[in-house]
C-alpha cells in the first residue's frame, strides 16, 4: 500500500516537474519572440542599410 502511494507521489511529482519545464520553455519562447519583435519595431526595416 505504502509502495503504491510512494509510486503515485513520484509520478505526480514527475508530472508537475514536466508541466513546469514546459511552462518555462513556453515563457522563454514568448520572451525571445517579443524581444525579436521589439527590436524590429525599435530599429525599423532595412536595418543593414543603417549600419
Amino acid at each position: 500500500m505504502s509502495t503504491e502511494n510512494s509510486n503515485n507521489d513520484v509520478e505526480a511529482a514527475a508530472r508537475i516537474a514536466r508541466r513546469r519545464s514546459i511552462a518555462i520553455a513556453v515563457m522563454l519562447g514568448v520572451m525571445v519572440v517579443l524581444f525579436y519583435a521589439a527590436t524590429l519595431v525599435r530599429f525599423g526595416g532595412a536595418i543593414a542599410n543603417k549600419v
Binding site: 517579443l34 521589439a38 524590429l40
Partner: protein, 311 residues
C-alpha cells in the same frame, strides 16, 4: 492547532507546480494593475506601437507579480496564521521561502530592465519605485508597525497608471497624478472595510490594522472620511479632459452608491449586520475601481478610434 497542520501530507511531498508560482504573483491584484495601467496607456496622449505596448503591459503585470511574490516571502509567518491567507503556496509548504524570494527578485529585475530598455526609462524607473515601495516601505517597514500602513503603503498600488502613462508619454503629468490619487484614496476605505470583519485575524498575528489599534468606531469614521475625499476626486478626470461624459455619469452614480455604503458602514455598528455591510462595501469598492478604469479605457479607446476616423 495551527492552520498549517491542516495541510495534507501530499502538499508537503509535492514539488511546486506552475499554478503555485502563478498564485505567488497574486493574479487578482495583477488584473487590477493591468487594467489601471492599460487605461492610462490608452488615455495618454500619443501612441505606442502595439508590440511595445504589449511589452509595457506584460512588464507592468510581471512587476506587480514580483511584488506579490516578495510580499508572500516576507509575510509567510503571518500568512500561515490568518484564515484569508493560510492557503497561499508558502504557508502550505508548496513553495519554499528561497524559491519565492528568488522568483520575486528575478521577475522584479527582469520586468524593470525590459520596460526600461524596450519602452522607456521613466516607466522603468517608476516600475522599480513601485516594487521597492511595496516591498520595503509597505511590507517590511509599515505593515507591522503602524495603523497607517494601508494609507502610505497604498501608494504602491496607485503607481501602475503612472507607469502606463509614462510608457506612452515618457513623463509624469497632472492626469497621471490624478489617477494615482484616485487609487491612493480608494485603498484605505477598501482595506479598512475588509479589516472591519477580519480584525480578529489581524489582531492574532499582530498586524496593527486600524480596527485593532483605534477600534471599530474610529475605523468606520475614517472610512467615511476617506470616501468623502475619494468620490469627488474620482469625478475629477472629467474636468481635466481625461474622461468623457460616460465617465462622468458612471463616476457620479457609482460614487453615490459608494458614499451610501460608507454611511451605512458608519451607522451600522452592531452584530452580523455590521459585518455584512462592511463586506458589501469591500466588494463594491473593487467593482467601483474596476468600473472607473474600465470606462476610462473603453471611452478613451472609442474616442481615439472616432478621432482617427475623422482624421
Amino acid at each position: 492547532m495551527t492552520m498549517q497542520s491542516d495541510i495534507g501530507q501530499a502538499d508537503l511531498l509535492m514539488e511546486p507546480s506552475v499554478s503555485d508560482y502563478i498564485q505567488l504573483m497574486k493574479p487578482r491584484v495583477m488584473t487590477l494593475v493591468v487594467l489601471t495601467a492599460l487605461a492610462a496607456m490608452v488615455a495618454a496622449p500619443g501612441s505606442l506601437h502595439p508590440v511595445i505596448g504589449l511589452i509595457a503591459i506584460l512588464s507592468i503585470a510581471i512587476g506587480a507579480g514580483a511584488s506579490g511574490a516578495l510580499n508572500m516571502w516576507y509575510d509567510a509567518d503571518i500568512d500561515a496564521r490568518m484564515a484569508r491567507t493560510a492557503a497561499r503556496p508558502l504557508p502550505r509548504g508548496r513553495v519554499s521561502g528561497d524559491e519565492a524570494l528568488s522568483f520575486g527578485i528575478v521577475l522584479a529585475a527582469g520586468s524593470v530592465m525590459t520596460l526600461g530598455v524596450l519602452v522607456n526609462w521613466t516607466a522603468g524607473a517608476l516600475l522599480a519605485l513601485t516594487i521597492a515601495f511595496y516591498m520595503f516601505v509597505y511590507t517590511m517597514w509599515l505593515k507591522r508597525r503602524t495603523p497607517h500602513n494601508i494609507v502610505i503603503g497604498g501608494a504602491a498600488g496607485a503607481f501602475p497608471p503612472m507607469v502606463g502613462w509614462a510608457a506612452v508619454t515618457g513623463d509624469v503629468s497632472i492626469q497621471s497624478i490624478l489617477m494615482f490619487l484616485i487609487i491612493f484614496m480608494w485603498t484605505p476605505p477598501h482595506f479598512w472595510a475588509l479589516a472591519l470583519y477580519r480584525c480578529r485575524d489581524y489582531e492574532r498575528v499582530g498586524v496593527p490594522m486600524l480596527p485593532v489599534v483605534a477600534g471599530l468606531a474610529e475605523t468606520r469614521r475614517q472610512i467615511l472620511l476617506y470616501s468623502l475625499f475619494l468620490v469627488p476626486l474620482a469625478v475629477a478626470p472629467y474636468f481635466v479632459g481625461l474622461g468623457g461624459v460616460t465617465y462622468l455619469a458612471v463616476s457620479v452614480v457609482l460614487g453615490a452608491i459608494f458614499l451610501w455604503l460608507a454611511i451605512r458602514v458608519y451607522r451600522t455598528t452592531e452584530g452580523r449586520e455590521a459585518d455584512k455591510v462592511a463586506k458589501q462595501l469591500f466588494w463594491f469598492s473593487i467593482l467601483y475601481l474596476y468600473s472607473l478604469f474600465a470606462v476610462l479605457l473603453v471611452e478613451s479607446a472609442v474616442l481615439r478610434y472616432l478621432h482617427a476616423g475623422v482624421v
